[in-house]
Symmetry: C2
Subunit: 230 residues, 2 copies
């Protein structure tokens, strides 16, 4: 591995620590998404919907398995790498427990989309191998259609649903930002990756601001896609 | 398909109905096993155990997906095929809701083992394609070690655990038999497959008795494997 460009990057212990953190947080996010989707599957109104939700959960596990294997390859304990993110991610889910099947669907779509955009932004700053792994782990296009179709149909059937779900979408965004800040404050290596260090250029405040704008815009696009105002 | 030996068998509408029933009950069993394993994963004491349980659940979904595709190939609606078995299987799970992580593990091992043995007995009477599909769907050897190791360790740590879990194993067996009888009474095509019809030889009473003995013996072997008396 030391000959590859990734090998050179990993010679920097702070870079390696940041990547282990990043793979750890994404892995725990997938584990947690599996739990939520399995929970949503139980609420699903039809057998067909149950099967669709179980398919999504299993896809998350497929990603988790790859991240776990990569962490082990890097010489890290995958479970120790996930552990620091258990509390903030569990808290996010506890504060945003869906009270209905539709809220669960919106959360899966909007919450996962937001996480995906954020990790993609970070992945752009990383070595090719890590970037590819992260981009593959975040792919879930196949399931978006299912959610969009169900939510749009529910709004068509009852307009009041749209207003309630729009509020729900804003709450998800707020809660996600608050937990992300907490993680950034606690995980030095990850924050240093974003902000840069003496040896490695990161984002300045203007660049961070632009990233935040991009995330907000894409969130708004997703809400529109669902037929909801952002 | 009509040229294959399976095609000939499927020309008999009662045979086809029995196979659709059988694939339907196994598929719903997998869907339901996914739900239980996902539930058990939430109770898991460590992240490593959680990941192991999510892996088992995802494997069940992989089988379910193949059964669903095969049902569609046979021109059956997979969800309609599963529907008649939802109630008896849900009832089984409701009557055997584990009250602890260990009870969940024993149930996964003993319950799935029993179902697997039973479906294997039936599969032996079917066309090659259906038999192969069923045997593949029931393969879960990779996960058995995990359960055996955890249960044996728990008994080693506290001997009283063994007595309680042995009772639990007997309850699982009794409940499984009672639901199986209910299914046999309601699904004519399936029962005819076992008992035979004018055109197709099935099992006589003596053969059914021998099958029942084999199932009981293998159940006892699994209990012994776990370190429990049957």
């Amino acid at each position: 591995m030391t000959e590859s460009p990734a090998g050179v990057a990993f010679a920097d212990p702070q870079y390696r620590a940041a990547v282990v953190d990043l793979l750890g947080v994404i892995a725990y996010g997938e584990l947690s998404a599996f739990e939520r989707l399995a929970e949503d599957a139980k609420l699903a109104p039809t057998l067909e919907d149950k099967v669709a939700l179980q398919a999504m959960a299993s896809a998350e596990f497929g990603h988790l398995a790859r991240l776990r294997d990569r962490l082990a390859e890097l010489g890290a304990d995958p479970f120790a790498a996930m552990a620091p993110f258990q509390k903030p991610i569990d808290d996010f889910h506890e504060h945003t427990a869906p009270s209905s099947w539709l809220e669960g669907l919106v959360k899966a779509y909007v919450g996962d989309g937001l996480a995906r955009d954020f990790y993609r932004e970070i992945a752009a700053m990383l070595d090719v191998e890590t970037r590819d792994l992260i981009l593959t782990s975040l792919d879930s296009t196949a399931h978006s259609e299912f959610v969009v179709e169900h939510v749009r149909r529910a709004i068509r059937d009852d307009h009041r649903v749209g207003g309630r779900l729009a509020l729900w979408g804003r709450r998800l965004m707020g809660e996600a930002l608050s937990q992300a800040q907490r993680v950034a404050a606690e995980r030095d290596a990850l924050s240093a990756l974003l902000a840069g260090t003496v040896d490695r250029p990161g984002m300045d405040l203007a660049a961070l601001g632009r990233m935040f704008n991009r995330l907000t815009e894409r969130h708004a696009e997703r809400m529109t896609e669902l037929g909801l105002s952002a």
